[in-house]
Amino acid sequence: MNNVKIKVEDFNFHYGKTHVLKKVSMDIVANKVTGIIGPSGCGKSTFLRSINRMNDTILGAKAEGRIILDGRNIYDDDIDVVEVRRKAGMVFQKSNPFPKSIFDNIAYGLRINGVKDKYYIHERVEKSLRDAAIWDEVKGRLNKNAFELSGGQQQRLCIARALAVEPEIVLMDEPASALDPTATLKVEELIQELKKKYTIIIVTHNMQQAARISDFTAFFMMGELVEYDVTSIMFTKPVKKITEDYITGRFG
């Protein structure tokens, strides 16, 4: 595969004594959507959170192996974690708006990164909200508290917040799990739009969704990467029997 954005090599992850990710190796291609599927508890979120080193905050967490982002192993000692997180934005499994106004939620990332220019902040806020397909719903009430939004709107707000700081990678953990079909469709369209600019990794429990939106699909089970291929192949003629069983819903 050409144009590799992230190279995962023999990556292991432990929460204390539980070995959650086992020798995962995979190449993630730039400007494509990579879908991650697998049964609950298999380590999808953990894998995603390893890519922006979000797991650092968890007590007793230990990572081994390499995740190479643009040629640099992000687990090297001299790496600037803040820089990694700026590059790899994240939309969490549970949407987590801050108890601030809609505007301040989006502007937050810019402000902490030292942007002072009010005009530029306004521009970015509008652009991000448009990109996240929520602008029309909130443009008249940017000063309202983000908690007043519906669940689906909050999720798109969180997407907009991640986009505002212009990352290169967007990590999405089941961004559509709390959304109704219309909102889900919006988010899916949005993802197709976003991949022009960003490299996207998305965790989903919905097979149809994975088939619809991702270019590549990775199937995890019990912390191991079972199979990883172009989505069309994964969903038509997977190599492993167990992948086929999972995709067709025969278990899990």
């Binding site: 922006n52 803040v82 997180r85 969490f92 987590n96 402000r111 917040r161």
Partner: protein, 284 residues
Amino acid sequence: MKKPHISDMLGFGFLRFSVGTVIVALIIILFDIISKGRGVICWKFLITMPKNGMTEGGILPAIIGTFLVTVITALLSIPLGMGCAIYLNEYARENMLNRLIRMSIRNLSGVPSIVYGLFGVILFVQVMNLGTCILSAGMTLGLMTLPWTITASEEALKNVPKSYREGALALGATKWQSIRTNVLPYAIPGMLTGTILGLSRAAGETAPILFTGAAFFIPFLPKSLFSQFMALPYHLYIMSTQHHAISKVRPIAYGTALVLIALVFAMNLGAVIARYRLRKIKME
């Protein structure tokens, strides 16, 4: 309709009895103090010096003394307490040492105030050679309130969801940025409430200031933080047990008690208001 269970009724009855007892006791105390103290309270009582061997005049120096000491207490215990709480809750690793520190802090909040008083004498008055003064007394009270401030502040920090911290970090915030901009603003109302409650308890303490700076009678206002001072709780103690004409100064004692209670009540009210207003700002 189903008949209420007998044990339910007994349990509920006991709860009602407890609440009733507490409220009645409180009302009796308040009523006693207000009815006996009301007579002496007037502007003159609040803004003049005691006269004639403290059998006449006001309690101005005691009010000023308590005020100044409380300010020192606050200056010591707010920044230190909040700092400790932030360190313990946000930075310290969960290990034996940390648990030991936390346990000691919990235990310190149960140490009798007279022990703090003795400690204050040794540390501030003697070792640091500050003498008996407002500063020594204020810092002693500050130490005494620290465990409460730390515990309350830590509780407030714990109430801020983890997702606020993670959300900020994921956007490229440094740890301190995420704490400063996305945790503290939501924890401060709770921190302040706990702290002010601690301060109001400190303001009413006698034992810690007894040997560290409070004086029986000083016929003028403190000149500096290195002066001895009069304080409301100590004045009350003197007037009700040590004065040579106790029955004669009874009304003054009750007046002093009333002022002290009003002060503590005002501080607690301030805590409630601060909490309410900050919470509103945060939600906007």
